[in-house]
Protein backbone atom coordinates (compact mmCIF):
# COMPACT_ATOMS: atom_id res chain seq x y z
CA UNK A 1 0.00 0.00 0.00
CA UNK A 2 1.49 3.36 -0.96
CA UNK A 3 1.46 6.39 1.34
CA UNK A 4 -1.42 8.09 -0.42
CA UNK A 5 -3.55 5.00 -0.17
CA UNK A 6 -2.63 4.67 3.49
CA UNK A 7 -3.70 8.25 4.13
CA UNK A 8 -6.97 7.60 2.40
CA UNK A 9 -7.83 4.52 4.44
CA UNK A 10 -6.38 5.25 7.87
CA UNK A 11 -8.70 7.56 9.83
CA UNK A 12 -6.00 8.24 12.43
CA UNK A 13 -4.10 10.39 9.94
CA UNK A 14 -6.82 13.05 9.83
CA UNK A 15 -6.26 15.21 12.90
CA UNK A 16 -9.22 16.77 14.68
CA UNK A 17 -9.91 20.26 13.39
CA UNK A 18 -9.01 22.91 15.92
CA UNK A 19 -10.46 25.92 14.15
CA UNK A 20 -14.01 25.61 15.57
CA UNK A 21 -12.57 25.83 19.11
CA UNK A 22 -10.29 28.67 18.04
CA UNK A 23 -13.31 30.50 16.66
CA UNK A 24 -14.84 30.20 20.13
CA UNK A 25 -11.86 32.02 21.66
CA UNK A 26 -10.11 28.92 23.05
CA UNK A 27 -6.49 30.03 23.51
CA UNK A 28 -5.32 26.47 24.24
CA UNK A 29 -6.77 25.28 20.94
CA UNK A 30 -5.08 28.21 19.24
CA UNK A 31 -1.74 27.22 20.76
CA UNK A 32 -2.32 23.63 19.61
CA UNK A 33 -3.10 24.96 16.14
CA UNK A 34 0.19 26.86 16.20
CA UNK A 35 2.13 23.83 17.38
CA UNK A 36 0.55 21.67 14.71
CA UNK A 37 1.09 23.90 11.68
CA UNK A 38 3.66 26.61 12.46
CA UNK A 39 6.62 24.56 11.16
CA UNK A 40 4.86 23.90 7.85
CA UNK A 41 3.85 27.54 7.44
CA UNK A 42 7.27 28.83 8.51
CA UNK A 43 8.98 26.58 5.95
CA UNK A 44 6.60 27.92 3.28
CA UNK A 45 7.28 31.53 4.25
CA UNK A 46 11.04 31.02 4.27
CA UNK A 47 10.70 29.44 0.81
CA UNK A 48 8.74 32.48 -0.40
CA UNK A 49 10.54 35.29 1.41
CA UNK A 50 14.03 33.90 1.72
CA UNK A 51 14.78 35.30 5.15
CA UNK A 52 13.78 34.28 8.65
CA UNK A 53 12.97 37.76 9.94
CA UNK A 54 10.33 38.45 7.30
CA UNK A 55 9.07 34.88 7.58
CA UNK A 56 8.55 35.27 11.35
CA UNK A 57 6.67 38.53 10.92
CA UNK A 58 4.36 37.07 8.28
CA UNK A 59 3.92 33.89 10.35
CA UNK A 60 2.71 36.09 13.20
CA UNK A 61 0.35 37.95 10.86
CA UNK A 62 -0.96 34.61 9.59
CA UNK A 63 -1.82 33.29 13.04
CA UNK A 64 -3.31 36.58 14.16
CA UNK A 65 -5.49 36.43 11.05
CA UNK A 66 -6.40 32.82 11.89
CA UNK A 67 -7.27 33.86 15.45
CA UNK A 68 -9.48 36.74 14.38
CA UNK A 69 -11.04 35.04 11.35
CA UNK A 70 -11.41 31.42 12.45
CA UNK A 71 -15.18 31.84 12.21
CA UNK A 72 -14.77 32.33 8.46
CA UNK A 73 -13.27 28.85 8.00
CA UNK A 74 -15.59 26.59 6.03
CA UNK A 75 -14.64 22.91 6.23
CA UNK A 76 -16.75 22.21 3.16
CA UNK A 77 -14.47 24.37 1.02
CA UNK A 78 -11.20 22.81 2.14
CA UNK A 79 -9.02 21.51 4.93
CA UNK A 80 -7.75 23.38 7.95
CA UNK A 81 -4.13 23.21 6.81
CA UNK A 82 -5.04 24.42 3.31
CA UNK A 83 -6.90 27.39 4.80
CA UNK A 84 -3.86 28.36 6.87
CA UNK A 85 -1.47 27.79 3.98
CA UNK A 86 -3.60 30.02 1.75
CA UNK A 87 -3.46 32.84 4.31
CA UNK A 88 0.30 32.45 4.81
CA UNK A 89 1.05 32.20 1.10
CA UNK A 90 -1.10 35.20 0.22
CA UNK A 91 0.53 37.37 2.90
CA UNK A 92 3.99 36.06 2.05
CA UNK A 93 3.57 36.96 -1.62
CA UNK A 94 2.25 40.42 -0.63
CA UNK A 95 5.33 40.95 1.53
CA UNK A 96 7.61 39.64 -1.23
CA UNK A 97 6.16 42.07 -3.74
CA UNK A 98 6.23 45.04 -1.40
CA UNK A 99 9.74 44.52 -0.05
CA UNK A 100 11.34 43.25 -3.24
CA UNK A 101 13.51 40.74 -1.45
CA UNK A 102 13.73 38.39 -4.38
CA UNK A 103 17.34 39.06 -5.19
CA UNK A 104 18.61 38.04 -1.74
CA UNK A 105 16.28 35.14 -1.24
CA UNK A 106 18.42 32.12 -1.99
CA UNK A 107 21.54 33.22 -0.14
CA UNK A 108 19.74 34.29 3.00
CA UNK A 109 17.54 31.20 3.10
CA UNK A 110 20.53 28.94 2.91
CA UNK A 111 22.31 30.79 5.67
CA UNK A 112 19.43 31.29 8.08
CA UNK A 113 17.78 27.93 7.84
CA UNK A 114 20.96 26.44 9.22
CA UNK A 115 20.32 28.30 12.49
CA UNK A 116 16.91 26.85 13.17
CA UNK A 117 18.04 23.42 14.27
CA UNK A 118 18.24 24.57 17.91
CA UNK A 119 14.67 25.87 18.00
CA UNK A 120 11.98 24.14 19.96
CA UNK A 121 9.65 22.02 17.87
CA UNK A 122 6.45 21.63 19.88
CA UNK A 123 4.61 19.61 17.25
CA UNK A 124 3.24 16.59 19.09
CA UNK A 125 4.59 13.15 18.26
CA UNK A 126 1.27 12.09 16.73
CA UNK A 127 1.02 15.24 14.63
CA UNK A 128 4.63 14.87 13.52
CA UNK A 129 4.03 11.29 12.43
CA UNK A 130 0.90 12.28 10.52
CA UNK A 131 2.55 15.22 8.85
CA UNK A 132 5.63 13.21 8.01
CA UNK A 133 3.56 10.49 6.35
CA UNK A 134 1.50 13.07 4.51
CA UNK A 135 4.65 14.76 3.28
CA UNK A 136 5.92 11.48 1.87
CA UNK A 137 2.61 10.98 0.10
CA UNK A 138 2.58 14.56 -1.21
CA UNK A 139 6.09 14.17 -2.53
CA UNK A 140 5.01 11.03 -4.30
CA UNK A 141 2.18 12.92 -5.95
CA UNK A 142 4.37 15.86 -6.93
CA UNK A 143 7.06 13.53 -8.26
CA UNK A 144 4.59 12.43 -10.92
CA UNK A 145 4.48 15.94 -12.37
CA UNK A 146 6.75 16.56 -15.37
CA UNK A 147 9.53 19.00 -14.46
CA UNK A 148 8.28 21.68 -16.85
CA UNK A 149 4.80 21.67 -15.28
CA UNK A 150 6.16 21.68 -11.78
CA UNK A 151 8.59 24.50 -12.52
CA UNK A 152 5.83 26.72 -13.90
CA UNK A 153 3.60 26.01 -10.91
CA UNK A 154 6.39 26.71 -8.42
CA UNK A 155 7.26 30.03 -10.06
CA UNK A 156 3.67 31.12 -9.67
CA UNK A 157 3.10 29.69 -6.21
CA UNK A 158 6.36 30.53 -4.45
CA UNK A 159 7.50 33.60 -6.36
CA UNK A 160 4.14 35.16 -7.16
CA UNK A 161 4.94 35.51 -10.86
CA UNK A 162 2.14 36.15 -13.33
CA UNK A 163 1.57 33.99 -16.41
CA UNK A 164 3.42 36.44 -18.63
CA UNK A 165 6.31 36.80 -16.16
CA UNK A 166 6.68 33.01 -16.06
CA UNK A 167 6.61 32.84 -19.88
CA UNK A 168 9.32 35.50 -19.98
CA UNK A 169 11.42 33.76 -17.32
CA UNK A 170 11.18 30.36 -19.09
CA UNK A 171 11.47 31.80 -22.62
CA UNK A 172 8.30 29.98 -23.59
CA UNK A 173 5.11 31.19 -25.31
CA UNK A 174 2.38 32.32 -22.92
CA UNK A 175 -0.01 29.67 -24.23
CA UNK A 176 2.51 26.90 -23.52
CA UNK A 177 2.98 28.12 -19.95
CA UNK A 178 -0.78 28.29 -19.33
CA UNK A 179 -1.25 24.78 -20.67
CA UNK A 180 1.56 23.42 -18.51
CA UNK A 181 0.15 24.99 -15.38
CA UNK A 182 -3.36 23.84 -16.19
CA UNK A 183 -2.20 20.24 -16.78
CA UNK A 184 -0.06 20.28 -13.65
CA UNK A 185 -2.89 21.57 -11.51
CA UNK A 186 -5.27 19.00 -12.97
CA UNK A 187 -2.92 16.20 -11.95
CA UNK A 188 -2.54 17.66 -8.46
CA UNK A 189 -6.31 17.95 -8.15
CA UNK A 190 -6.68 14.29 -9.16
CA UNK A 191 -4.08 13.28 -6.56
CA UNK A 192 -5.79 15.43 -3.98
CA UNK A 193 -8.60 12.89 -3.70
CA UNK A 194 -6.07 10.63 -1.98
CA UNK A 195 -5.54 13.17 0.81
CA UNK A 196 -9.18 13.86 1.67
Amino acid sequence: MNAAAMLRTDPSVTPTSLLPAVAGGDVNAFEDLYDRYSSTLYALLIRILGNCEDAQEVLQETFVKAWTSAKMFDAVRGSEVAWLISIARSRGIDRLRSRRVRSDREDEAGREISFVSGFVDRTSGADQAIQSEQRVAVRGALAELPDAQRQALELAYFEGLSQSEIAERLHEPLGTVKTRMQLGMKKLRDRLQAFR
Binding site: S38, T40, Y42, A43, A82, R135, Q163, R189, L192
Partner: protein
Protein backbone atom coordinates in the same frame (compact mmCIF):
# COMPACT_ATOMS: atom_id res chain seq x y z
CA UNK B 1 -17.32 31.57 -21.14
CA UNK B 2 -18.18 27.91 -20.51
CA UNK B 3 -17.53 25.71 -17.47
CA UNK B 4 -14.38 24.26 -18.97
CA UNK B 5 -12.91 27.72 -19.43
CA UNK B 6 -13.81 28.66 -15.85
CA UNK B 7 -12.16 25.46 -14.68
CA UNK B 8 -8.98 26.49 -16.48
CA UNK B 9 -9.09 29.84 -14.74
CA UNK B 10 -9.66 28.06 -11.41
CA UNK B 11 -6.52 25.98 -11.99
CA UNK B 12 -4.43 29.09 -12.65
CA UNK B 13 -6.08 31.09 -9.87
CA UNK B 14 -5.12 28.42 -7.33
CA UNK B 15 -1.43 29.25 -7.78
CA UNK B 16 -2.05 32.97 -8.16
CA UNK B 17 -1.40 32.94 -11.90
CA UNK B 18 -4.83 34.05 -13.11
CA UNK B 19 -5.21 37.68 -14.12
CA UNK B 20 -7.26 40.01 -11.92
CA UNK B 21 -10.02 40.05 -14.52
CA UNK B 22 -10.10 36.24 -14.72
CA UNK B 23 -10.23 35.96 -10.93
CA UNK B 24 -13.15 38.41 -10.79
CA UNK B 25 -15.12 36.63 -13.50
CA UNK B 26 -14.51 33.26 -11.81
CA UNK B 27 -15.70 34.60 -8.47
CA UNK B 28 -18.84 36.03 -10.05
CA UNK B 29 -19.58 32.80 -11.90
CA UNK B 30 -18.88 30.57 -8.89
CA UNK B 31 -21.57 32.40 -6.94
CA UNK B 32 -24.18 30.63 -9.01
CA UNK B 33 -22.36 27.50 -10.25
CA UNK B 34 -21.84 24.65 -7.79
CA UNK B 35 -19.56 22.67 -10.13
CA UNK B 36 -17.20 25.55 -10.79
CA UNK B 37 -17.22 26.56 -7.12
CA UNK B 38 -16.24 23.00 -6.17
CA UNK B 39 -13.54 22.96 -8.85
CA UNK B 40 -12.18 26.28 -7.57
CA UNK B 41 -12.05 24.99 -3.99
CA UNK B 42 -10.43 21.71 -5.03
CA UNK B 43 -7.79 23.43 -7.10
CA UNK B 44 -7.07 25.79 -4.19
CA UNK B 45 -6.63 22.82 -1.87
CA UNK B 46 -4.49 21.00 -4.46
CA UNK B 47 -2.14 23.99 -4.78
CA UNK B 48 -1.33 23.75 -1.08
CA UNK B 49 0.34 20.39 -1.77
CA UNK B 50 3.28 22.44 -3.08
CA UNK B 51 3.68 23.89 0.42
CA UNK B 52 2.97 20.66 2.25
CA UNK B 53 5.85 18.97 0.48
CA UNK B 54 8.43 21.26 2.08
CA UNK B 55 10.46 20.04 5.06
CA UNK B 56 9.01 21.70 8.16
CA UNK B 57 11.12 24.37 9.89
CA UNK B 58 10.27 25.06 13.54
CA UNK B 59 10.04 28.81 14.17
CA UNK B 60 11.85 30.34 17.18
CA UNK B 61 10.11 29.92 20.54
CA UNK B 62 9.60 33.68 20.96
CA UNK B 63 7.28 33.78 17.94
CA UNK B 64 4.95 31.32 19.69
CA UNK B 65 5.04 33.36 22.90
CA UNK B 66 4.28 36.55 20.99
CA UNK B 67 1.36 35.04 19.10
CA UNK B 68 -0.10 33.36 22.18
CA UNK B 69 0.25 36.67 24.03
CA UNK B 70 -1.70 38.47 21.31
CA UNK B 71 -4.49 35.87 21.50
CA UNK B 72 -4.69 36.07 25.29
CA UNK B 73 -4.67 39.86 25.41
CA UNK B 74 -7.31 40.10 22.68
CA UNK B 75 -9.49 37.76 24.74
CA UNK B 76 -9.07 40.05 27.74
CA UNK B 77 -9.97 43.11 25.67
CA UNK B 78 -12.97 41.33 24.19
CA UNK B 79 -14.12 40.30 27.67
CA UNK B 80 -13.74 43.86 28.86
CA UNK B 81 -15.76 45.10 25.91
CA UNK B 82 -18.52 42.62 26.67
CA UNK B 83 -18.88 43.79 30.27
CA UNK B 84 -18.09 47.47 29.89
CA UNK B 85 -20.80 49.67 31.34
CA UNK B 86 -21.86 52.69 29.28
CA UNK B 87 -20.06 55.15 31.53
CA UNK B 88 -16.77 53.31 31.00
CA UNK B 89 -17.11 53.82 27.25
CA UNK B 90 -17.76 57.52 27.80
CA UNK B 91 -14.80 57.70 30.19
CA UNK B 92 -12.62 55.96 27.61
CA UNK B 93 -13.75 58.41 24.93
CA UNK B 94 -13.02 61.35 27.21
CA UNK B 95 -9.67 59.88 28.12
CA UNK B 96 -8.77 59.46 24.46
CA UNK B 97 -9.88 63.03 23.73
CA UNK B 98 -7.78 64.36 26.60
CA UNK B 99 -4.88 62.20 25.61
CA UNK B 100 -5.12 63.47 22.03
CA UNK B 101 -5.31 67.09 23.30
CA UNK B 102 -2.26 66.44 25.48
CA UNK B 103 -0.38 64.94 22.53
CA UNK B 104 -1.15 68.01 20.42
CA UNK B 105 0.01 70.22 23.30
CA UNK B 106 3.24 68.26 23.61
CA UNK B 107 3.85 68.51 19.88
CA UNK B 108 3.29 72.29 19.88
CA UNK B 109 5.60 72.64 22.90
CA UNK B 110 8.27 70.56 21.19
CA UNK B 111 8.08 72.71 18.08
CA UNK B 112 8.32 75.86 20.23
CA UNK B 113 11.35 74.45 22.06
CA UNK B 114 13.01 73.57 18.74
CA UNK B 115 12.43 77.13 17.47
CA UNK B 116 13.79 78.62 20.69
CA UNK B 117 16.83 76.36 20.58
CA UNK B 118 17.52 77.51 17.00
CA UNK B 119 17.23 81.14 18.15
CA UNK B 120 19.59 80.45 21.06
CA UNK B 121 22.11 78.89 18.67
CA UNK B 122 21.83 81.91 16.36
CA UNK B 123 22.29 84.34 19.27
CA UNK B 124 25.25 82.37 20.54
CA UNK B 125 26.92 82.57 17.12
CA UNK B 126 26.17 86.30 16.97
CA UNK B 127 27.63 86.73 20.46
CA UNK B 128 30.83 84.94 19.43
CA UNK B 129 31.07 87.10 16.32
CA UNK B 130 30.58 90.30 18.35
CA UNK B 131 33.12 89.12 20.94
CA UNK B 132 35.68 88.62 18.18
CA UNK B 133 34.89 92.09 16.80
CA UNK B 134 35.19 93.63 20.27
CA UNK B 135 38.54 91.99 20.70
CA UNK B 136 39.69 93.47 17.41
CA UNK B 137 38.37 96.88 18.44
CA UNK B 138 40.15 96.56 21.78
CA UNK B 139 43.38 96.01 19.89
CA UNK B 140 42.75 99.12 17.81
CA UNK B 141 41.59 101.25 20.75
CA UNK B 142 44.33 100.31 23.20
CA UNK B 143 46.52 103.21 24.41
CA UNK B 144 49.59 101.17 23.54
CA UNK B 145 48.45 100.39 20.01
CA UNK B 146 50.80 101.51 17.31
CA UNK B 147 49.72 102.34 13.79
CA UNK B 148 51.78 101.58 10.71
CA UNK B 149 50.79 102.83 7.26
CA UNK B 150 51.61 100.62 4.27
CA UNK B 151 51.81 102.52 1.00
CA UNK B 152 50.97 101.34 -2.52
CA UNK B 153 53.99 100.31 -4.58
CA UNK B 154 54.68 100.19 -8.31
CA UNK B 155 52.23 97.33 -8.86
CA UNK B 156 49.35 99.21 -7.23
CA UNK B 157 50.14 102.83 -6.51
CA UNK B 158 46.65 103.67 -5.25
CA UNK B 159 46.56 100.79 -2.76
CA UNK B 160 47.19 101.31 0.93
CA UNK B 161 46.92 99.52 4.25
CA UNK B 162 46.83 100.43 7.89
CA UNK B 163 48.22 98.18 10.60
CA UNK B 164 46.99 98.46 14.19
CA UNK B 165 49.57 96.68 16.25
CA UNK B 166 49.09 95.82 19.92
CA UNK B 167 52.59 95.08 21.29
CA UNK B 168 51.30 93.85 24.65
CA UNK B 169 49.14 91.14 23.13
CA UNK B 170 51.55 90.72 20.19
CA UNK B 171 48.57 90.96 17.89
CA UNK B 172 47.69 93.13 14.92
CA UNK B 173 44.79 93.95 12.65
CA UNK B 174 45.50 95.06 9.12
CA UNK B 175 43.00 96.91 6.90
CA UNK B 176 43.73 96.97 3.17
CA UNK B 177 42.18 99.47 0.71
CA UNK B 178 42.08 99.79 -3.11
CA UNK B 179 44.04 96.60 -3.70
CA UNK B 180 43.75 95.18 -7.25
CA UNK B 181 41.52 92.11 -7.44
CA UNK B 182 43.55 88.93 -7.07
CA UNK B 183 42.98 86.21 -9.74
CA UNK B 184 41.25 83.03 -8.55
CA UNK B 185 44.50 81.06 -8.69
CA UNK B 186 46.39 83.67 -6.65
CA UNK B 187 46.30 84.97 -3.08
CA UNK B 188 47.81 88.02 -1.43
CA UNK B 189 50.35 87.19 1.26
CA UNK B 190 51.47 89.52 4.05
CA UNK B 191 55.11 89.26 5.09
CA UNK B 192 56.88 90.46 8.22
CA UNK B 193 60.44 91.54 7.51
CA UNK B 194 62.39 90.97 10.70
CA UNK B 195 65.65 92.40 11.91
CA UNK B 196 66.74 89.20 13.58
CA UNK B 197 66.12 86.88 10.62
CA UNK B 198 67.37 87.07 7.03
CA UNK B 199 64.12 85.74 5.48
CA UNK B 200 60.65 87.29 5.66
CA UNK B 201 58.05 85.55 7.84
CA UNK B 202 54.53 84.90 6.53
CA UNK B 203 51.80 86.67 8.52
CA UNK B 204 48.79 85.42 6.56
CA UNK B 205 47.13 84.88 3.22
CA UNK B 206 44.05 86.81 2.08
CA UNK B 207 41.78 87.71 -0.81
CA UNK B 208 40.31 91.15 -1.38
CA UNK B 209 36.70 92.07 -2.02
CA UNK B 210 35.45 93.50 -5.29
CA UNK B 211 36.16 96.98 -3.92
CA UNK B 212 39.75 95.95 -3.14
CA UNK B 213 39.49 95.89 0.63
CA UNK B 214 40.38 93.19 3.15
CA UNK B 215 40.95 92.79 6.86
CA UNK B 216 43.19 90.23 8.52
CA UNK B 217 44.16 89.56 12.11
CA UNK B 218 47.65 88.45 13.09
CA UNK B 219 48.40 86.64 16.33
CA UNK B 220 51.75 85.70 17.89
CA UNK B 221 53.63 88.53 16.29
CA UNK B 222 57.38 88.81 16.87
CA UNK B 223 58.29 91.36 19.54
CA UNK B 224 58.13 94.91 18.28
CA UNK B 225 61.89 95.43 18.25
CA UNK B 226 62.31 92.58 15.77
CA UNK B 227 59.78 93.91 13.22
CA UNK B 228 61.38 96.06 10.56
CA UNK B 229 58.64 96.28 7.92
CA UNK B 230 55.49 94.69 6.51
CA UNK B 231 54.92 94.00 2.82
CA UNK B 232 52.40 92.22 0.58
CA UNK B 233 53.11 90.09 -2.50
CA UNK B 234 50.81 88.09 -4.76
CA UNK B 235 51.48 84.36 -4.52
CA UNK B 236 50.02 81.11 -5.82
CA UNK B 237 46.66 80.39 -4.11
CA UNK B 238 47.22 79.30 -0.53
CA UNK B 239 50.49 81.14 -0.16
CA UNK B 240 54.19 80.26 -0.33
CA UNK B 241 56.95 79.58 2.21
CA UNK B 242 58.91 82.54 0.89
CA UNK B 243 57.97 85.32 -1.53
CA UNK B 244 58.14 84.11 -5.13
CA UNK B 245 58.01 87.67 -6.50
CA UNK B 246 60.09 90.67 -5.67
CA UNK B 247 57.33 93.12 -6.52
CA UNK B 248 55.34 94.38 -3.55
CA UNK B 249 51.76 95.69 -3.69
CA UNK B 250 51.88 97.60 -0.41
CA UNK B 251 54.76 98.07 1.97
CA UNK B 252 55.66 100.05 5.07
CA UNK B 253 58.30 100.10 7.80
CA UNK B 254 58.33 100.73 11.51
CA UNK B 255 59.03 104.35 12.29
Amino acid sequence: MNHEEFETIAALDAVGAATAGETRSLAAHAESCDACRRARDEYAEAATLLARELDPVPPPAEVRERIAGIAESSNVIEAEHRFNPWWLAIAATLFLALWGWREIGIRVARERIATQQAEIRGLSEEKNRLAAQNEKLASIASAETRTIALAGQEMSPSASARVFLDPTRRRAIVFFYNMPSNPTDKSYQLWIIRGDQPKPQSAGVFDVTASGSATISIDNLPVMTEIRALAVTMEPRGGADQPTEKKFYVMGGMS
